[in-house]
Amino acid sequence: MATEEKRQELLGRLKNAVIQYDEDGAKEAANEVIALGMDANDAIFNGLVSGMEEVGRLFEAQEYFVPELLMSADALYAGLDILKPHVRQLDLGVKGSVVIGTVEGDVHDIGKNIVKMMFDVAGFTVYDLGRDVPLDKFVEEQLRTDSDLVCLSAMMTTTMVGMKKVISDLKAKNPNVRIMIGGAPVSSDIADKWGADGYAKDANNALKDAINMVSSLKKMKEEAEAKKRG
């Protein structure tokens, strides 16, 4: 077992690797975590995700821009790919599966990929439909996978309007499904009007929202574990 000191060192290295978009650094630290038999969940949430939270802050402060965000995401994935096979199956009390994609007519997928990353981190099963996805496909995939969350993304005013139809089709077929929409032209007003449950207006907000979701999942997990012990 790793000592607390070693644990802190590795968490710090994972965090910094993400902040400094250092893929090799993230891999090395992740390999050490595994070699020492440290908890992979701990390394993901308190190392990699914690680094991503700082990246989100830097993005908000306009010290980082999208290129840095993308490079940090690469570093996070480099660590995550090594750690993930060692994650114990979590019983979160939620089903944790999500259908995600960019709507037909739109080939921008950066915001979508950032949200997807946070779901990957949280251990969700992610059905990524990619970009330029025909609207019916979202409904089909939700029904096929019985996912409880659908995330739709559109980057341009000219493609956003398609989301309206998907939302109403999804809700008609399955009133319980939760829908999150995102992208530069989207507003909370539009989300309300069209009946979406949540929205993210840009990459940073998507990241923040996704982090919030992950944080609340963490909390649920801790509560579930406390209950088990109690």
Binding site: F65, P67, E68, T157
Partner: protein
Amino acid sequence: MAETTTMTPRERVLKLFSGAEVDRPPCFSGMGNVTTAGLKEFGYKFAALHSNAKMMADAAAATYKLTGFECGVVPFDLCVEAEALGCEINVYAHLEDILYPTIRKKIIHDEAEMETVDIPADFTKRGRIPLLKEAIKFLKADIGGEVAIGSYVLGPFTLAGQIMELNDLLKLSFKKPEKVGRLLETLAEAIILYAAELEDAGADYITVREMGATSDVLSPRVFKNLILPHLQKIFSRIKAHTVLHICGKTNDIAVFMTESGASAISADQKNDVAETRKKIGSALLFGNYDPYNVLVAGTVETVRQTVRKCIDDGVDAVWPGCDIWPTVPAENIKAMMDEVINYRR
């Protein structure tokens, strides 16, 4: 209220561009403004417009004829240059809904191919470039006596994002700026060639849409060092009046935008243009109403308030933040025109 002035919309726009006094701000755009009402007049399908010069011109002219919106602009999509460079596009011909064409197949698939991309010798004869010239001629013959005729090209960075993965382009702008710079240099040449064709066909003004270079995505430093020099080259070579449009929050680069050499700069609804006005002094500034949330989804009163705010904030032309979404209600566009004509600061 009807207008008492004798200035035609064409004179007003051209005078504004040349720095002369105008009686009021014009209400026009340098980006697409086709409407479903216009399509209905002719029974055209949106997807069919992109590959037929006559239909493209008819649809563009219909906006002015039906609403008085003070320009005629073609094309409606953002894929002309990329297609002429060899990309494959999708016009979504199978769908009844309005979807704008996108790139289906890119021409750069990896970093190495960035170095080998070339402008074909017959570039201006390829793809839809000849068709666009024809469309401008039709449009000019139809309404060119009354309104200024506009067209647009992409900025080099945005065009790069069309012909290669945007993800890779963004990361390489950070990791290998020299490599991206060389690509932008090549693409700037292609853009200059295309713009010359549009000018030759009779475009009175050309908007350069460098949408991908917004400060929401790229740092102002990268914009200044990597992108601005190529924009400067492009603007120095276009003889028609020019506009530089960049989406999102652009106040951190507004001064750089005025240094690009464009006749005017254009901002979208996310940008605080009152602040822009302070930063850029008397340079021409167009903007910045939301072409969907206000013009399509808003009430007549929201539209009027928004127009007044644009004018109060100091724009020289009331102009949308992006392409106008085609289902715009007639009463909204009418309210916008009426407010621009009658409102005085």
